[in-house]
Protein backbone atom coordinates (compact mmCIF):
# COMPACT_ATOMS: atom_id res chain seq x y z
CA UNK A 1 0.00 0.00 0.00
CA UNK A 2 1.29 3.43 -0.87
CA UNK A 3 1.24 6.24 1.66
CA UNK A 4 -0.10 9.70 1.13
CA UNK A 5 1.64 12.61 2.78
CA UNK A 6 -0.76 15.26 4.08
CA UNK A 7 0.26 18.83 4.82
CA UNK A 8 0.01 18.22 8.50
CA UNK A 9 2.43 15.36 8.15
CA UNK A 10 -0.10 12.72 9.08
CA UNK A 11 0.61 9.40 7.43
CA UNK A 12 -2.43 7.59 6.17
CA UNK A 13 -2.92 4.44 4.22
CA UNK A 14 -3.54 4.85 0.49
CA UNK A 15 -6.00 3.04 -1.76
CA UNK A 16 -8.89 4.40 0.29
CA UNK A 17 -11.64 6.40 -1.42
CA UNK A 18 -11.94 10.08 -0.61
CA UNK A 19 -14.98 9.23 1.49
CA UNK A 20 -16.16 5.88 2.63
CA UNK A 21 -19.10 5.37 4.96
CA UNK A 22 -19.74 1.99 6.53
CA UNK A 23 -23.09 1.25 8.15
CA UNK A 24 -23.39 4.91 9.09
CA UNK A 25 -26.23 5.74 11.48
CA UNK A 26 -26.90 9.09 13.05
CA UNK A 27 -29.43 9.82 15.78
CA UNK A 28 -30.26 13.36 16.92
CA UNK A 29 -31.32 13.46 20.56
CA UNK A 30 -34.22 15.92 21.01
CA UNK A 31 -36.78 17.05 23.56
CA UNK A 32 -39.54 15.27 21.71
CA UNK A 33 -37.68 12.03 21.35
CA UNK A 34 -34.86 10.92 19.12
CA UNK A 35 -34.69 11.40 15.39
CA UNK A 36 -33.03 8.66 13.45
CA UNK A 37 -31.60 10.90 10.73
CA UNK A 38 -29.36 8.35 9.01
CA UNK A 39 -30.24 4.69 8.97
CA UNK A 40 -27.28 2.77 7.59
CA UNK A 41 -25.45 4.52 4.78
CA UNK A 42 -22.77 2.77 2.77
CA UNK A 43 -21.32 4.96 0.08
CA UNK A 44 -17.92 5.56 -1.46
CA UNK A 45 -16.72 8.68 -3.16
CA UNK A 46 -13.63 8.25 -5.30
CA UNK A 47 -11.09 10.80 -6.36
CA UNK A 48 -12.42 12.84 -9.29
CA UNK A 49 -16.09 11.96 -8.65
CA UNK A 50 -18.84 14.52 -9.15
CA UNK A 51 -21.75 13.38 -7.02
CA UNK A 52 -25.10 15.12 -6.55
CA UNK A 53 -27.20 14.25 -3.51
CA UNK A 54 -30.92 14.92 -3.77
CA UNK A 55 -33.77 14.24 -1.38
CA UNK A 56 -36.57 16.10 0.30
CA UNK A 57 -36.07 18.44 3.29
CA UNK A 58 -35.28 16.25 6.27
CA UNK A 59 -34.16 13.23 4.22
CA UNK A 60 -30.70 13.30 5.80
CA UNK A 61 -28.64 14.92 3.00
CA UNK A 62 -27.08 17.61 5.17
CA UNK A 63 -26.61 15.25 8.09
CA UNK A 64 -24.71 12.94 5.78
CA UNK A 65 -22.59 15.76 4.38
CA UNK A 66 -21.69 16.93 7.88
CA UNK A 67 -20.17 13.52 8.50
CA UNK A 68 -17.77 14.07 5.59
CA UNK A 69 -15.64 16.47 7.62
CA UNK A 70 -16.44 15.40 11.15
CA UNK A 71 -18.84 18.22 11.98
CA UNK A 72 -21.01 15.29 13.04
CA UNK A 73 -19.76 11.93 14.18
CA UNK A 74 -21.52 8.61 13.57
CA UNK A 75 -23.82 7.32 16.29
CA UNK A 76 -23.05 3.92 14.80
CA UNK A 77 -20.82 2.81 11.94
CA UNK A 78 -17.81 4.58 10.51
CA UNK A 79 -16.85 7.36 8.15
CA UNK A 80 -13.41 7.26 6.59
CA UNK A 81 -11.97 10.37 4.96
CA UNK A 82 -8.91 9.38 2.89
CA UNK A 83 -8.81 6.37 5.15
CA UNK A 84 -8.89 8.47 8.34
CA UNK A 85 -11.61 7.52 10.81
CA UNK A 86 -13.57 10.67 11.71
CA UNK A 87 -14.03 9.43 15.28
CA UNK A 88 -10.28 9.82 15.87
CA UNK A 89 -10.13 13.35 17.30
CA UNK A 90 -6.38 13.48 16.69
CA UNK A 91 -7.10 13.49 12.94
CA UNK A 92 -9.69 16.28 13.07
CA UNK A 93 -7.49 18.96 11.50
CA UNK A 94 -6.34 16.69 8.70
CA UNK A 95 -9.94 15.75 7.98
CA UNK A 96 -11.19 19.33 8.01
CA UNK A 97 -8.36 20.33 5.71
CA UNK A 98 -9.15 17.50 3.30
CA UNK A 99 -12.88 18.20 3.05
CA UNK A 100 -14.10 21.77 2.58
CA UNK A 101 -17.75 22.71 2.90
CA UNK A 102 -19.76 25.61 1.52
CA UNK A 103 -23.17 26.18 3.06
CA UNK A 104 -26.44 27.77 2.04
CA UNK A 105 -26.26 31.26 3.48
CA UNK A 106 -23.69 33.51 1.82
CA UNK A 107 -23.79 35.89 4.79
CA UNK A 108 -22.82 33.33 7.42
CA UNK A 109 -19.54 32.19 5.96
CA UNK A 110 -17.39 35.27 5.59
CA UNK A 111 -15.28 36.25 8.58
CA UNK A 112 -12.89 38.99 7.42
CA UNK A 113 -13.47 42.57 6.26
CA UNK A 114 -11.46 42.24 3.06
CA UNK A 115 -11.90 39.41 0.58
CA UNK A 116 -8.32 38.18 0.36
CA UNK A 117 -8.01 38.14 4.14
CA UNK A 118 -11.14 36.04 4.27
CA UNK A 119 -9.68 33.53 1.83
CA UNK A 120 -6.42 33.54 3.83
CA UNK A 121 -8.24 32.61 7.04
CA UNK A 122 -8.19 28.86 6.39
CA UNK A 123 -4.51 28.46 5.40
CA UNK A 124 -3.46 30.80 8.23
CA UNK A 125 -5.11 28.49 10.70
CA UNK A 126 -3.38 25.53 9.11
CA UNK A 127 -0.07 27.25 9.85
CA UNK A 128 0.89 27.64 6.20
CA UNK A 129 3.97 29.95 5.82
CA UNK A 130 3.04 33.53 4.87
CA UNK A 131 4.54 33.61 1.33
CA UNK A 132 2.68 30.42 0.49
CA UNK A 133 -0.57 31.84 1.89
CA UNK A 134 -0.32 34.72 -0.56
CA UNK A 135 0.20 32.27 -3.43
CA UNK A 136 -2.72 30.12 -2.33
CA UNK A 137 -5.05 33.09 -1.96
CA UNK A 138 -4.14 34.33 -5.43
CA UNK A 139 -4.65 30.93 -6.98
CA UNK A 140 -7.95 30.33 -5.18
CA UNK A 141 -9.40 33.71 -6.11
CA UNK A 142 -8.31 33.18 -9.71
CA UNK A 143 -10.05 29.81 -9.78
CA UNK A 144 -13.37 31.36 -8.78
CA UNK A 145 -12.76 34.40 -10.98
CA UNK A 146 -12.74 36.88 -8.10
CA UNK A 147 -9.12 38.04 -8.22
CA UNK A 148 -10.08 41.50 -9.47
CA UNK A 149 -12.18 42.14 -6.37
CA UNK A 150 -9.60 40.85 -3.87
CA UNK A 151 -9.33 44.12 -1.95
CA UNK A 152 -13.09 44.69 -1.74
CA UNK A 153 -15.23 44.39 1.36
CA UNK A 154 -17.34 41.21 1.33
CA UNK A 155 -20.59 42.92 2.33
CA UNK A 156 -20.64 44.83 -0.96
CA UNK A 157 -20.66 41.64 -3.01
CA UNK A 158 -23.67 39.94 -4.57
CA UNK A 159 -24.83 36.60 -3.18
CA UNK A 160 -23.18 34.70 -6.03
CA UNK A 161 -19.89 36.53 -5.50
CA UNK A 162 -20.00 35.82 -1.76
CA UNK A 163 -20.48 32.12 -2.44
CA UNK A 164 -17.55 32.19 -4.87
CA UNK A 165 -15.43 33.77 -2.12
CA UNK A 166 -16.58 31.03 0.25
CA UNK A 167 -15.50 28.44 -2.34
CA UNK A 168 -12.12 30.21 -2.69
CA UNK A 169 -11.73 30.05 1.08
CA UNK A 170 -12.13 26.30 0.89
CA UNK A 171 -9.83 25.92 -2.14
CA UNK A 172 -7.05 27.81 -0.35
CA UNK A 173 -6.92 24.92 2.12
CA UNK A 174 -6.06 22.56 -0.77
CA UNK A 175 -8.90 20.16 -0.04
CA UNK A 176 -9.39 16.79 -1.67
CA UNK A 177 -13.15 17.17 -1.68
CA UNK A 178 -15.44 20.16 -2.07
CA UNK A 179 -18.92 19.74 -0.54
CA UNK A 180 -21.61 22.27 -1.47
CA UNK A 181 -24.65 21.99 0.79
CA UNK A 182 -27.45 23.81 -1.06
CA UNK A 183 -24.96 26.54 -1.85
CA UNK A 184 -27.24 28.03 -4.51
CA UNK A 185 -30.52 27.95 -2.56
CA UNK A 186 -30.46 31.59 -1.49
CA UNK A 187 -29.19 33.01 -4.77
CA UNK A 188 -30.96 34.68 -7.66
CA UNK A 189 -30.69 33.09 -11.13
CA UNK A 190 -27.50 35.01 -11.98
CA UNK A 191 -25.89 34.05 -8.68
CA UNK A 192 -26.86 30.43 -9.18
CA UNK A 193 -25.41 30.41 -12.67
CA UNK A 194 -22.14 31.97 -11.38
CA UNK A 195 -21.72 29.33 -8.71
CA UNK A 196 -22.56 26.46 -11.06
CA UNK A 197 -20.13 27.78 -13.70
CA UNK A 198 -17.46 28.01 -11.01
CA UNK A 199 -18.07 24.40 -10.00
CA UNK A 200 -17.94 23.21 -13.60
CA UNK A 201 -14.70 25.15 -14.17
CA UNK A 202 -13.14 23.58 -11.07
CA UNK A 203 -14.23 20.22 -12.38
CA UNK A 204 -12.78 20.65 -15.84
CA UNK A 205 -9.54 22.43 -14.86
CA UNK A 206 -8.66 21.09 -11.42
CA UNK A 207 -10.63 17.80 -11.56
CA UNK A 208 -11.91 18.74 -8.10
CA UNK A 209 -13.82 15.94 -6.43
CA UNK A 210 -17.22 17.47 -5.71
CA UNK A 211 -20.37 16.67 -3.78
CA UNK A 212 -23.32 18.88 -4.66
CA UNK A 213 -26.40 18.79 -2.43
CA UNK A 214 -29.30 20.45 -4.15
CA UNK A 215 -33.06 20.77 -4.57
CA UNK A 216 -32.60 21.91 -8.14
CA UNK A 217 -32.85 18.94 -10.47
CA UNK A 218 -31.31 20.93 -13.31
CA UNK A 219 -28.17 21.20 -11.17
CA UNK A 220 -28.20 17.53 -10.25
CA UNK A 221 -28.11 16.49 -13.94
CA UNK A 222 -24.65 18.06 -14.24
CA UNK A 223 -23.13 15.48 -11.89
CA UNK A 224 -21.72 12.13 -12.96
CA UNK A 225 -23.58 10.27 -10.25
CA UNK A 226 -26.79 11.10 -8.41
CA UNK A 227 -27.56 9.71 -4.96
CA UNK A 228 -31.19 9.89 -3.93
CA UNK A 229 -31.94 9.92 -0.20
CA UNK A 230 -35.16 9.39 1.69
CA UNK A 231 -35.73 8.97 5.40
CA UNK A 232 -32.05 8.61 6.13
CA UNK A 233 -31.32 5.97 3.52
CA UNK A 234 -29.96 5.85 0.00
CA UNK A 235 -32.94 4.80 -2.11
CA UNK A 236 -31.46 5.18 -5.58
CA UNK A 237 -28.11 5.89 -7.10
CA UNK A 238 -26.77 6.03 -10.63
CA UNK A 239 -25.99 8.31 -13.53
CA UNK A 240 -28.39 11.26 -13.95
CA UNK A 241 -29.87 9.48 -16.97
CA UNK A 242 -30.55 6.35 -14.90
CA UNK A 243 -31.95 8.19 -11.89
CA UNK A 244 -34.14 10.63 -13.79
CA UNK A 245 -35.52 7.83 -15.95
CA UNK A 246 -37.63 6.94 -12.88
CA UNK A 247 -40.04 9.87 -12.58
CA UNK A 248 -42.59 7.81 -10.61
CA UNK A 249 -40.04 6.91 -7.96
CA UNK A 250 -38.81 10.49 -7.69
CA UNK A 251 -42.30 11.91 -7.46
CA UNK A 252 -43.24 9.41 -4.76
CA UNK A 253 -40.24 10.75 -2.83
CA UNK A 254 -41.41 14.34 -3.15
CA UNK A 255 -38.79 15.07 -5.78
CA UNK A 256 -39.03 15.99 -9.38
CA UNK A 257 -37.36 15.31 -12.70
CA UNK A 258 -35.94 18.19 -14.74
CA UNK A 259 -38.64 19.85 -16.83
CA UNK A 260 -36.90 19.04 -20.12
CA UNK A 261 -36.77 15.35 -19.15
CA UNK A 262 -40.45 15.34 -18.23
CA UNK A 263 -41.39 17.10 -21.45
CA UNK A 264 -39.28 14.69 -23.54
CA UNK A 265 -41.02 11.75 -21.92
CA UNK A 266 -44.47 13.14 -22.68
CA UNK A 267 -43.48 13.92 -26.24
CA UNK A 268 -42.37 10.33 -26.70
CA UNK A 269 -45.70 9.23 -25.24
CA UNK A 270 -47.44 11.41 -27.83
CA UNK A 271 -45.68 9.46 -30.55
CA UNK A 272 -42.67 11.64 -31.31
CA UNK A 273 -39.61 9.54 -32.05
CA UNK A 274 -37.06 10.92 -29.63
CA UNK A 275 -34.24 9.05 -27.91
CA UNK A 276 -34.48 8.08 -24.24
CA UNK A 277 -32.36 9.82 -21.62
CA UNK A 278 -32.94 13.47 -22.53
CA UNK A 279 -32.24 15.59 -19.42
CA UNK A 280 -31.63 19.18 -20.47
CA UNK A 281 -33.30 21.81 -22.65
CA UNK A 282 -30.30 21.76 -24.98
CA UNK A 283 -30.50 17.98 -25.44
CA UNK A 284 -34.23 18.14 -26.05
CA UNK A 285 -33.95 20.84 -28.69
CA UNK A 286 -31.03 19.07 -30.40
CA UNK A 287 -32.97 15.82 -30.51
CA UNK A 288 -36.12 17.48 -31.82
CA UNK A 289 -34.14 19.13 -34.61
CA UNK A 290 -32.20 15.98 -35.39
CA UNK A 291 -35.20 13.70 -35.57
CA UNK A 292 -37.44 16.05 -37.48
Amino acid sequence: MQCVELNSGTQIKGAAGIIETKGLHHVYRGHEGDTHALGGIDIRIEEGDFVAIIGRNGSGKSTLAKHFNAILLPTEGRVLVLGMDTRDTGLLWSIRQAVGMVFQNPDNQIVATVIDEDVAFGPENLGVPTPEIAERVDAALRQVNMLALRHHAPHLLSGGQKQRVAIAGVLAMHPKLLVLDEATAMLDPVGRAEVIETILALRSIAKMTTVLITHHMDEAVLAHRVIVMDEGRVVASGTPAEVFAQPELLESLGLDVPLAAKLAKELIRSGLSLPEGILTAAQLVDSLCQFN
Partner: protein, 287 residues
Amino acid sequence: MPIQLNNVSFTYSPGTPFERHALRGINLSIADGEFIGIIGQTGSGKSTLVQLLNGLIKPTQGTVRVGDVTTTDKGVRLRPLRQMVGLVFQFAEHQLFAETVAADIAFGPLNLGLDPSEIAARVDEAMLTVGLPLEMKERSPFELSGGQMRRVAIAGVLAMRPQVLILDEPTAGLDPRGRDEILTRIGALHRERGITVILVSHSMEDIARLVSRIVVIHEGEVLHDGPPREVFCSAESLSGIGLGVPQATEILRRLRLAGWNVPAVALTLAEAHGFIVEAWRERSGEA
Protein backbone atom coordinates in the same frame (compact mmCIF):
# COMPACT_ATOMS: atom_id res chain seq x y z
CA MET B 1 -57.77 47.31 -0.63
CA PRO B 2 -56.38 48.98 -3.76
CA ILE B 3 -52.75 50.04 -3.65
CA GLN B 4 -51.45 53.13 -5.38
CA LEU B 5 -47.83 54.21 -5.67
CA ASN B 6 -47.35 57.69 -7.05
CA ASN B 7 -43.92 58.72 -8.21
CA VAL B 8 -42.28 56.84 -5.36
CA SER B 9 -38.56 57.11 -4.72
CA PHE B 10 -36.63 55.65 -1.83
CA THR B 11 -33.08 56.50 -0.88
CA TYR B 12 -31.09 54.71 1.79
CA SER B 13 -28.89 56.96 4.00
CA PRO B 14 -29.73 60.17 2.11
CA GLY B 15 -27.15 62.93 2.39
CA THR B 16 -24.37 60.60 3.54
CA PRO B 17 -21.50 59.02 1.59
CA PHE B 18 -23.52 55.78 1.72
CA GLU B 19 -26.50 57.29 -0.09
CA ARG B 20 -28.11 54.74 -2.36
CA HIS B 21 -31.16 55.20 -4.55
CA ALA B 22 -33.12 51.98 -4.20
CA LEU B 23 -36.25 53.09 -6.07
CA ARG B 24 -36.84 55.97 -8.45
CA GLY B 25 -40.14 57.39 -9.64
CA ILE B 26 -42.24 54.23 -9.31
CA ASN B 27 -45.87 54.48 -10.43
CA LEU B 28 -47.89 51.38 -9.80
CA SER B 29 -51.51 50.63 -9.08
CA ILE B 30 -52.67 47.28 -7.83
CA ALA B 31 -56.39 46.54 -7.84
CA ASP B 32 -58.27 44.44 -5.31
CA GLY B 33 -57.79 40.72 -5.70
CA GLU B 34 -54.92 40.85 -8.18
CA PHE B 35 -52.22 38.17 -8.18
CA ILE B 36 -48.98 39.90 -9.00
CA GLY B 37 -45.47 38.57 -9.44
CA ILE B 38 -42.54 40.87 -8.80
CA ILE B 39 -39.26 39.82 -10.38
CA GLY B 40 -35.86 41.44 -10.46
CA GLN B 41 -32.26 40.72 -9.63
CA THR B 42 -30.98 40.84 -6.06
CA GLY B 43 -30.49 44.51 -5.29
CA SER B 44 -33.00 45.69 -7.90
CA GLY B 45 -35.26 47.26 -5.27
CA LYS B 46 -37.94 44.53 -4.93
CA SER B 47 -37.59 44.16 -1.18
CA THR B 48 -37.60 47.92 -0.68
CA LEU B 49 -40.78 48.07 -2.73
CA VAL B 50 -42.65 45.49 -0.66
CA GLN B 51 -41.54 47.07 2.60
CA LEU B 52 -43.09 50.34 1.45
CA LEU B 53 -46.44 48.61 1.03
CA ASN B 54 -47.02 47.98 4.72
CA GLY B 55 -45.35 51.09 6.04
CA LEU B 56 -42.20 49.41 7.34
CA ILE B 57 -40.41 52.16 5.47
CA LYS B 58 -41.79 55.39 4.01
CA PRO B 59 -40.97 56.82 0.62
CA THR B 60 -38.31 59.53 0.41
CA GLN B 61 -40.45 61.07 -2.31
CA GLY B 62 -43.96 60.42 -3.63
CA THR B 63 -46.81 58.63 -1.89
CA VAL B 64 -47.85 55.08 -1.09
CA ARG B 65 -51.59 54.71 -0.60
CA VAL B 66 -53.11 51.45 0.63
CA GLY B 67 -56.91 51.57 0.83
CA ASP B 68 -57.50 54.96 2.42
CA VAL B 69 -54.19 55.08 4.30
CA THR B 70 -51.37 57.19 2.90
CA THR B 71 -48.22 56.08 4.72
CA THR B 72 -46.58 59.52 4.73
CA ASP B 73 -49.58 61.41 6.17
CA LYS B 74 -48.94 63.22 9.42
CA GLY B 75 -50.13 61.26 12.44
CA VAL B 76 -51.04 58.24 10.32
CA ARG B 77 -51.67 55.04 12.29
CA LEU B 78 -49.66 52.29 10.67
CA ARG B 79 -50.83 49.47 12.90
CA PRO B 80 -54.11 48.84 11.04
CA LEU B 81 -52.14 48.97 7.80
CA ARG B 82 -49.72 46.27 8.98
CA GLN B 83 -52.67 44.10 9.85
CA MET B 84 -54.23 44.60 6.42
CA VAL B 85 -50.99 44.04 4.54
CA GLY B 86 -49.28 40.83 5.66
CA LEU B 87 -45.64 40.50 4.77
CA VAL B 88 -43.93 37.10 4.77
CA PHE B 89 -40.19 37.66 4.61
CA GLN B 90 -37.60 35.50 2.90
CA PHE B 91 -36.72 32.46 5.02
CA ALA B 92 -39.55 33.48 7.34
CA GLU B 93 -38.96 30.40 9.50
CA HIS B 94 -35.89 32.16 10.90
CA GLN B 95 -38.31 34.41 12.74
CA LEU B 96 -40.16 31.68 14.59
CA PHE B 97 -39.61 32.08 18.31
CA ALA B 98 -42.40 30.59 20.39
CA GLU B 99 -42.41 27.31 22.24
CA THR B 100 -45.29 25.82 20.34
CA VAL B 101 -46.65 26.12 16.84
CA ALA B 102 -49.95 27.48 18.16
CA ALA B 103 -48.28 30.14 20.31
CA ASP B 104 -46.18 31.30 17.38
CA ILE B 105 -49.17 31.65 15.07
CA ALA B 106 -51.22 33.33 17.84
CA PHE B 107 -48.63 36.03 18.45
CA GLY B 108 -50.04 38.51 15.92
CA PRO B 109 -53.73 38.14 16.84
CA LEU B 110 -52.77 38.33 20.53
CA ASN B 111 -51.20 41.72 19.90
CA LEU B 112 -54.36 42.84 18.15
CA GLY B 113 -56.06 42.35 21.52
CA LEU B 114 -58.54 39.75 20.29
CA ASP B 115 -60.26 37.50 22.80
CA PRO B 116 -58.92 33.97 23.36
CA SER B 117 -61.69 32.12 21.54
CA GLU B 118 -61.27 34.30 18.47
CA ILE B 119 -57.50 33.76 18.59
CA ALA B 120 -57.92 30.00 18.86
CA ALA B 121 -60.29 30.02 15.90
CA ARG B 122 -57.83 32.03 13.84
CA VAL B 123 -54.93 29.72 14.69
CA ASP B 124 -56.95 26.71 13.53
CA GLU B 125 -58.06 28.45 10.38
CA ALA B 126 -54.52 29.60 9.50
CA MET B 127 -53.08 26.13 10.10
CA LEU B 128 -55.68 24.50 7.89
CA THR B 129 -55.14 27.10 5.19
CA VAL B 130 -51.42 26.32 4.93
CA GLY B 131 -52.04 22.58 5.28
CA LEU B 132 -50.63 21.96 8.75
CA PRO B 133 -52.44 19.23 10.70
CA LEU B 134 -53.98 20.61 13.92
CA GLU B 135 -52.21 17.89 15.92
CA MET B 136 -49.03 19.89 15.40
CA LYS B 137 -50.29 22.78 17.53
CA GLU B 138 -48.47 21.82 20.68
CA ARG B 139 -45.24 20.81 18.99
CA SER B 140 -42.14 22.94 19.04
CA PRO B 141 -41.81 24.72 15.69
CA PHE B 142 -38.07 24.04 15.79
CA GLU B 143 -38.53 20.31 15.51
CA LEU B 144 -40.48 20.50 12.27
CA SER B 145 -39.12 20.09 8.76
CA GLY B 146 -38.04 23.14 6.77
CA GLY B 147 -41.22 23.15 4.70
CA GLN B 148 -43.41 22.84 7.79
CA MET B 149 -41.57 25.65 9.57
CA ARG B 150 -42.05 27.86 6.54
CA ARG B 151 -45.77 27.10 6.69
CA VAL B 152 -45.97 27.97 10.39
CA ALA B 153 -44.44 31.35 9.57
CA ILE B 154 -46.94 31.96 6.77
CA ALA B 155 -49.80 30.88 9.05
CA GLY B 156 -48.67 33.49 11.58
CA VAL B 157 -49.21 36.18 8.99
CA LEU B 158 -52.51 34.70 7.76
CA ALA B 159 -53.86 34.67 11.33
CA MET B 160 -53.93 38.47 11.08
CA ARG B 161 -56.46 38.02 8.22
CA PRO B 162 -54.64 40.36 5.88
CA GLN B 163 -56.38 41.62 2.77
CA VAL B 164 -53.07 41.87 0.97
CA LEU B 165 -50.53 39.07 1.31
CA ILE B 166 -46.96 39.71 0.25
CA LEU B 167 -44.61 36.74 0.04
CA ASP B 168 -40.88 37.23 -0.50
CA GLU B 169 -39.38 34.03 -1.98
CA PRO B 170 -41.76 31.67 -0.19
CA THR B 171 -40.32 28.54 -1.82
CA ALA B 172 -36.58 29.22 -1.63
CA GLY B 173 -34.69 26.27 -0.15
CA LEU B 174 -37.68 23.92 -0.16
CA ASP B 175 -37.75 20.55 -1.88
CA PRO B 176 -39.92 20.15 -4.99
CA ARG B 177 -42.93 18.79 -3.10
CA GLY B 178 -42.66 21.45 -0.39
CA ARG B 179 -42.52 24.08 -3.13
CA ASP B 180 -45.51 22.61 -4.85
CA GLU B 181 -47.61 22.40 -1.69
CA ILE B 182 -46.96 25.98 -0.64
CA LEU B 183 -47.71 27.32 -4.11
CA THR B 184 -50.91 25.29 -4.37
CA ARG B 185 -52.04 26.68 -1.00
CA ILE B 186 -51.25 30.23 -1.99
CA GLY B 187 -53.13 29.80 -5.27
CA ALA B 188 -56.17 28.43 -3.43
CA LEU B 189 -56.05 31.23 -0.88
CA HIS B 190 -56.17 33.77 -3.67
CA ARG B 191 -58.99 32.02 -5.51
CA GLU B 192 -61.14 31.29 -2.48
CA ARG B 193 -60.71 34.44 -0.42
CA GLY B 194 -60.12 36.89 -3.21
CA ILE B 195 -57.27 38.56 -1.34
CA THR B 196 -54.56 40.41 -3.21
CA VAL B 197 -51.37 38.37 -3.42
CA ILE B 198 -47.96 39.78 -4.29
CA LEU B 199 -45.33 37.14 -4.92
CA VAL B 200 -41.67 38.08 -5.08
CA SER B 201 -39.71 35.24 -6.62
CA HIS B 202 -36.60 34.29 -8.54
CA SER B 203 -38.40 31.26 -9.87
CA MET B 204 -39.95 32.03 -13.22
CA GLU B 205 -41.68 28.63 -13.01
CA ASP B 206 -43.54 29.67 -9.85
CA ILE B 207 -44.40 33.05 -11.32
CA ALA B 208 -45.60 31.64 -14.65
CA ARG B 209 -47.77 29.10 -12.91
CA LEU B 210 -49.63 31.49 -10.63
CA VAL B 211 -49.71 35.17 -11.40
CA SER B 212 -51.80 37.16 -13.84
CA ARG B 213 -49.50 40.15 -13.93
CA ILE B 214 -45.74 40.54 -13.69
CA VAL B 215 -43.88 43.65 -12.61
CA VAL B 216 -40.19 43.60 -13.54
CA ILE B 217 -38.01 45.85 -11.38
CA HIS B 218 -34.58 46.82 -12.61
CA GLU B 219 -32.22 49.28 -10.92
CA GLY B 220 -35.06 50.77 -8.93
CA GLU B 221 -37.42 51.28 -11.85
CA VAL B 222 -40.33 49.38 -13.39
CA LEU B 223 -38.96 47.86 -16.58
CA HIS B 224 -41.98 45.79 -17.63
CA ASP B 225 -45.52 45.54 -16.31
CA GLY B 226 -47.95 43.16 -17.99
CA PRO B 227 -49.41 39.68 -18.22
CA PRO B 228 -46.86 36.80 -18.11
CA ARG B 229 -47.34 35.93 -21.75
CA GLU B 230 -46.37 39.44 -22.74
CA VAL B 231 -43.48 39.89 -20.29
CA PHE B 232 -41.88 36.52 -21.10
CA CYS B 233 -41.88 37.45 -24.81
CA SER B 234 -38.90 39.64 -24.11
CA ALA B 235 -36.53 36.81 -23.21
CA GLU B 236 -33.49 38.74 -24.42
CA SER B 237 -34.22 41.83 -22.38
CA LEU B 238 -34.91 39.70 -19.31
CA SER B 239 -31.69 37.73 -19.63
CA GLY B 240 -29.89 41.04 -20.18
CA ILE B 241 -30.80 42.00 -16.63
CA GLY B 242 -29.95 38.63 -15.15
CA LEU B 243 -33.45 37.15 -15.19
CA GLY B 244 -34.74 34.26 -17.16
CA VAL B 245 -37.93 32.90 -18.64
CA PRO B 246 -39.74 29.73 -17.58
CA GLN B 247 -37.99 26.61 -18.88
CA ALA B 248 -40.96 25.77 -21.08
CA THR B 249 -40.56 29.16 -22.76
CA GLU B 250 -36.79 28.68 -23.02
CA ILE B 251 -37.27 25.42 -24.92
CA LEU B 252 -39.62 27.13 -27.38
CA ARG B 253 -37.17 30.01 -27.77
CA ARG B 254 -34.41 27.60 -28.74
CA LEU B 255 -36.68 25.80 -31.18
CA ARG B 256 -37.61 29.09 -32.83
CA LEU B 257 -33.92 29.91 -33.22
CA ALA B 258 -33.61 26.55 -34.99
CA GLY B 259 -36.38 27.60 -37.37
CA TRP B 260 -39.36 25.87 -35.78
CA ASN B 261 -42.75 27.48 -36.09
CA VAL B 262 -43.82 27.52 -32.42
CA PRO B 263 -45.26 30.35 -30.30
CA ALA B 264 -42.73 32.39 -28.32
CA VAL B 265 -44.12 31.71 -24.87
CA ALA B 266 -45.35 28.64 -22.99
CA LEU B 267 -46.16 29.09 -19.33
CA THR B 268 -46.47 25.42 -18.45
CA LEU B 269 -45.09 22.09 -19.55
CA ALA B 270 -48.49 21.06 -20.93
CA GLU B 271 -48.62 24.14 -23.10
CA ALA B 272 -45.11 23.57 -24.49
CA HIS B 273 -46.02 19.94 -25.13
CA GLY B 274 -49.04 20.96 -27.22
CA PHE B 275 -47.09 23.48 -29.26
CA ILE B 276 -44.21 21.08 -29.99
CA VAL B 277 -46.47 18.18 -31.01
CA GLU B 278 -48.34 20.46 -33.39
CA ALA B 279 -45.15 21.85 -34.92
CA TRP B 280 -43.66 18.35 -35.20
CA ARG B 281 -46.67 17.09 -37.13
CA GLU B 282 -46.63 20.12 -39.36
CA ARG B 283 -42.94 19.58 -40.13
CA SER B 284 -43.42 15.85 -40.70
CA GLY B 285 -46.26 16.62 -43.10
CA GLU B 286 -44.09 18.93 -45.14
CA ALA B 287 -41.20 16.47 -45.28
